[in-house]
């Protein structure tokens, strides 16, 4: 059973293979994403994050989830030498970490309810669990960053088991991720960075941070134990980490 709903400013898809699935579990997980959106969306005036940016809440009164997220953001900032930075012009915006963290929590909710074979995909970031309908590892295609979205052309196919896969990138209409070390400089050396990690929380925060490093992003991923990456530069040349091979599915080319 599969559903797609628009939340957190993007389409979120959940597919559950287990035979015991029914409609109710989808509501449970989507309600959680709604809760996340209401707390962390900088586009909602009433969200906790907007209240914080308007100085309307004291730090001691931040919610438990907010404190947890901010702690993770600070940890990630240190681990990436400042390339991950939630300080933006409008205040703080932790969405680069919240997305992966929320998807991962959604997956944990599914597991807690006894589901083993599923995926959650939100805006191109994916947490997989178990096997697909063919009882094989989930097959994920990396989108060609140079093509329009409706074409959905795939340039690499990977097969993963119990992993998180996050892709940071730009798209045809221009670069929307900036280098936190130099706010005036758009990051356009690379256009796509896919990170495979033990879960989507880890993959997403490092994909977000690394993307801001330009061409050296893939070297950062190479240096991370337990992570693999596939980077596409503005000339259409892909570079991959030394352990990425094991995930590649050889395909017939179009």
């Amino acid at each position: 059973m599969k559903q797609t709903r628009l939340l957190m400013g993007m389409p979120i898809s959940i597919e559950i293979i287990d035979k015991s699935v029914d409609e109710k579990i989808f509501d449970v997980v989507y309600d959680y994403f709604k809760y996340i959106d209401n707390k962390f969306s900088v586009y909602k005036n009433d969200s906790e994050i907007s209240q914080i940016n308007q100085n309307k809440i004291l730090e001691k009164d931040y919610s438990k989830d907010m404190k947890q997220v901010l702690k993770f953001c600070e940890q990630t900032r240190k681990q990436t030498n400042g390339f991950f930075n939630i300080q933006k012009d409008i205040g703080i915006d932790p969405s680069g970490l919240v997305k992966g963290w929320a998807i991962f929590n959604g997956a944990k909710l599914l597991k807690k309810n006894g589901f083993e074979n599923f995926y959650i995909e939100a805006g191109g970031d994916i947490q997989v669990s178990g096997k697909n309908l063919d009882k094989e590892n989930w097959r994920i295609g990396i989108r060609n960053p140079f093509k329009e979205f409706k074409e959905n052309e795939i340039v690499k196919v990977i097969s993963v088991f119990n992993k998180g896969v996050a892709t940071s990138g730009t798209y045809l209409r221009g670069a929307h991720i900036y280098n936190p070390k130099d706010r005036n400089k758009k990051v356009d050396e690379i256009v796509s960075l896919t990170v495979i990690g033990s879960n989507i929380y880890e993959a997403d925060r490092f994909a977000t941070a690394a993307f801001a490093m330009g061409q050296k992003a893939i070297l950062f991923v190479e240096g991370l134990n337990g992570f693999e990456g596939y980077q596409i530069d503005k000339n259409g040349i892909a570079t991959f980490t030394s352990g990425f091979n094991k995930f590649i599915l050889e395909n017939e080319k179009n």
């Binding site: 989108r143 209409r173 190479e222 240096g223």
Partner: protein, 146 residues
């Protein structure tokens, strides 16, 4: 580790070679405060000597070299005409897990030109324009609400 040592060895060999050339031709490296034909180094406390190997005693700083992760700069210490020590003045360490990076060689990562693949996949991963479009659309909506 091995590859890094090889690179460092190659670099250090180059440094030594260039020092050797300079000593042989009586040209003084700009990083050593030593006047031509003086036969002594102002930075050493040992007896000045010009050995048959061609190395003059003293401390010699090599040029800064871009090692991709960061800069490498070494200092060679010559005593009794022989290299007695080589020190790193700078090495790539401005990175997460810098200890890990420094114990590894600069990796040669595989590259390829991207090519369209069969679309037989369960899920697609890619940067999304939807979030950005959401923001833009919201902006337009709010403008109308003014």
């Amino acid at each position: 580790m091995k590859k890094f040592l090889v690179s460092a060895f190659v670099f250090i060999t180059f440094v030594i070679y260039s020092l050797h050339q300079r000593v042989a031709s009586n040209v003084i490296s700009p990083t050593v405060s030593q006047t031509p034909n003086s036969g002594s180094s102002s930075t050493t406390t040992t007896q000045p000597s010009t050995s048959t190997t061609g190395f003059k005693d003293g401390q010699y700083t090599g040029d800064i070299v871009d090692a991709y992760y960061g800069n490498v700069q070494v200092k060679a210490i010559i005593s009794g005409g022989k290299i007695t020590d080589i020190q790193f003045l700078d090495y790539p360490r401005d990175r997460q897990q810098s200890n890990y990076i420094n114990s590894q060689a600069t990796p040669m990562l595989r590259t390829e030109a991207i090519q369209a693949q069969s679309a037989n996949v369960d899920i697609i991963s890619g940067a999304t324009a939807t979030s950005q479009a959401f923001i833009q659309s919201l902006g337009f909506a709010l403008a109308k609400a003014k």
